[in-house]
């Protein structure tokens, strides 16, 4: 993250707090962090962090995603997806790089466009 070319994505400029519940669409250029409840659509040029306490139901389009809470929806990333040990992902993903920590949960199909042949993973 620190090595990002776009400096504006290097720091969090959008935060949805733990006790907050939002429905709608987020379009941002910087880093977005969600700790509360969100339902809708997230579109950012920067990174997305979904905290441990977050429960998100959304279509995600971002550069990188760090997931420690719960995400239901499809994910499309330029970079990589990190699924922490507390992270739970239900949906299909299209990422260049995938890391799932011990205990992380992923249910869905995975597509890596960097590869010539499409690959499907299921768990």
């Amino acid at each position: 993250m620190l090595g990002s070319r776009k400096r504006k994505s290097g720091k969090v400029d959008t935060l949805i707090g733990k006790e907050t519940e939002i429905k709608g669409s987020i379009r941002a250029s910087g880093m977005v962090r969600i700790d509360g409840r969100f339902e809708g659509e997230i579109l950012t040029e920067g990174d997305l962090i979904i905290g441990e306490s977050a429960r998100v139901k959304a279509e995600v389009n971002a550069r990188n995603l760090t997931l420690a809470g719960e995400l239901k929806g499809n994910v499309e990333l330029e970079g990589r997806l990190e699924l922490n040990s507390s992270g739970r992902l239900y949906g299909d993903i299209k990422v260049n790089n995938l890391v799932i920590a011990d205990g992380g949960l992923f249910k869905g199909s995975s597509l890596m466009p960097g590869m010539e042949e499409d690959q499907e993973q299921e768990s």
């Binding site: 935060l15 700790d35 962090i49 905290g51 760090t66 420690a68 507390s86 992270g87």
Partner: protein, 327 residues
Amino acid sequence: MSRKKRITIMWIPHWGSSPRNFNVSLGLLTSVAALVLAVATGLGILGRDYIHMQAKLDDLHRLEKVKNIQESQLEQFARESREMAQELEEIKEMDREVRELLEMEEFQEEKLEELEEDGDRQVGSGTLTSRGSLGIQGYSLREKEAAGDNYNYLGYGNQGLEEMDSIRFSLPSTRVSLEELENLLKEEKSRRAGTPSIWPLEGRLTSSYGYRACPFTGRRTFHQGIDVGAPRGTSIYAAADGVIEMARYNGGMGKTIIIDHPYGHKTLYAHLIDYKVKEGEEVKKGDVIGFVGSTGFSTGPHLHYEVHREGEPVDPMEYLPEKNRES
């Protein structure tokens, strides 16, 4: 906005764990910031001092090395001083021995007392000079003892200094003493040169000092000198340094020479065939002054030799080297 200004400081991790909020009053934050600044400044000063001290420490190490070298030099200096002092003492001892040999003890003692007074006078200036050069000011000998610890930091140097003081103390008196000795020796030398001590000629002792039968009258008379038989023309030597008081015909003694010596002696040489010196001439011990003959009342070529001390005739044998005595 409430009366008190407050702010929230938020800790937002760029990874999954939860963010944290810190709600603080601006005053507290300012205080904390000031405190942090103060601590940082203090640490900065300490750090600068530390760096400074580190540099000083390097200096200290270097100075320690220099000090060690200097200490060993001082030690050597002290040792050399001691040796010098010892040698000086030996020289003094030799001086004393020589004086004893010269049998001038009384004179020596007088001189030594004088010299020691001189020496005392010398100490003052001598020690002051040495302290000056080592940068210790204003210590007299007594203060030096009182100051003790202050003075001792010089360590070996102190010893050396004392040795040097004692050498300085002794040198002038030793010098004067030796000069005195030199004068004494010169005097002794000239006294010996001026005192009859050699045979005036090579020959056979034919008549001693004292009562004897007169060779002409047969009567018992006092013989004031000795007679030494030798062939006519044998060289006669001056018995000591002196001035020719007489060199002329003298009645029954025939051609006679009298030498006046500087230490109350006179020697007389009689019955000479000829002189080699004139009256008033200075002669050295061993110079040829005349030749054996038989002038005056004489029964054959011989030398009549007399020695007078303080105007009185004495036995010339006392003024002749023993090994050449003939009987």
